[in-house]
Symmetry: C2
Subunit: 288 residues, 2 copies
């Protein structure tokens, strides 16, 4: 086994992502690293322990970060500020904090909460699913996944490289973006699709919820992410609300354009609109 | 092998659905049925022949239906009227026509084009995918699938039972609805999701088409059906345009409700909206 850069690690929130990251590090570095999990649900922490994702756990964030080289914020995004404020004064000098949140506008604020001598680097591994909890964690989750790392002008380049390396060590392909660019891109291809998927299911709920009994693969795929954890998506939506408000407007304009084509029975316009979507979507592989 | 009710069958359009239905009948009844395929692309018809889905093929719809007991309309919906008009006078007395279209408002019009002594029954097997053509056809496609059969007050009950039986013989679970109820239900859980999926991809196309390179499983699932054949969906959308115009409005109302909650940073409202979607969607199994 290779020698780990960070030996003592705290996972703040041992859910799908936090638990999978812990498991991936454990399967790579074994007992040469020590991982403590912080969480609120003992059942979940016990499951993480039983599965060997973590070595020990605590209900105290202050206790969790003590003497740790790397702290991974992996709770829902909405709790990052409060947790960081609580444990900030307990951090070891030269420790590094990363987060794994799906929204990165919060990064500059988190940086300002970090004490002198500690570094923060925002990260977003693209590897979630609608599943949650340590029970669904998998050490393979990051294998060949993309991880966006969002340095700012305050980021120390040595620390940045260490963070990039740890993501690569669990199988990720790392891409760098500014926090703002991240939130524009992921607002468009992740956050908006979640809101659209929620809205589509709620359209069915409003008009005829029994109709879903007849649904085929198309409806199931299109609305799979409407099973995503609600609280997590409240946090993400609010952290990226300015982009999302604009994106919803553009989405509505696209729907209006389809509606206008239907009102005027405009075959050619419908065909061109559908073909445009066909062409762009076919650039992606059709895995599910 | 069991004795077939319909011995001589014409498949009008040997694509994914027509080809799979032919293949399913062939694997059940073997050489005790004879299947002729009608189509326009010789390459596709040759592939169907090579795969044993059909016994022979023709480019003439009149030729295809001659002396056939069962005629299956399986082209895109927009061609049904024209084809039925062309071959109507060549139909054998007591023959039965079914269609496999995804929209059923057209059924009453098709009934009126059918000559005396011939029966028409509208059918919609819920078994499509974004794939197309005989090359993607599978005799297993209808196994455990739902098939909606849409009788009207003109439907002969003996013929209806024969049609139900043939769908059950290829593995379908059959449910009856009026054509109008079908189009309300499937407008909601199939046609609207397709339009939404096309509109979502086109929102990306409009704002930043390069962003799709970063997309994860959520975007891929939500937009898989945006790869569906354009012309087919032009036909379906126009045949169900009145329902769809209203459904798009309701969808926009749901999006506006999310936008309002974002504008006012209303956590509780977002949470309730997402939870409502969670609850309804979780009624379905999460297959993909």
């Amino acid at each position: 086994m290779s020698e780990p850069d960070f030996k003592n690690i705290a996972i703040i929130g041992v859910g799908l992502i936090g638990g999978s990251f812990a498991g991936a590090l454990k399967s790579r570095y074994g007992s040469s690293i020590s991982i403590i999990g912080f969480g609120r649900r003992e059942e979940n922490l016990k499951e993480a322990l039983r599965r060997g994702l973590i070595d020990t756990y605590t209900f105290s964030p202050e206790e969790a970060v003590k003497e740790r080289d790397l702290i991974v914020l992996a709770t829902p995004v909405g709790r990052f500020r409060e947790l960081l404020r609580r444990f900030a004064s307990h951090l070891k000098k030269d420790s590094v904090i990363i987060d794994v949140g799906s929204v990165k506008g919060i990064v500059r604020e988190l940086e300002s909460l970090v004490p002198e001598g500690v570094d923060f680097v925002g990260c977003h591994p693209i590897a979630g699913s609608e599943k949650a909890g340590a029970e669904n964690a998998s050490p393979e989750l990051f294998n060949e996944a993309l991880c966006i790392v969002t340095p700012t002008e305050r980021t120390n380049s040595t620390v940045l490289n260490r963070v990039i390396n740890i993501w690569q060590s669990v199988g990720c392909r790392v891409v760098q973006m500014s926090p703002e660019q991240h939130d524009r891109v992921f607002g468009l291809i992740s956050h908006l699709p979640h809101l659209v998927s929620f809205a589509l299911v709620n359209t069915v709920a409003k008009l005829d919820s029994e109709a879903i009994e007849y649904s085929g693969g198309g409806f199931k795929d299109t609305t799979r992410i409407a099973m995503s954890p609600s609280q997590l998506w409240v946090d993400i939506s609010l952290e990226n609300r300015e982009n999302l408000i604009e994106l919803i407007e553009t989405m509505k304009t696209e729907l209006d354009s389809l509606k206008d084509a239907l009102i005027s029975s405009d075959k050619q316009r419908l065909l061109k609109t559908f073909q445009k979507a066909n062409n762009l979507r076919r650039r992606l592989k059709n895995d599910c």
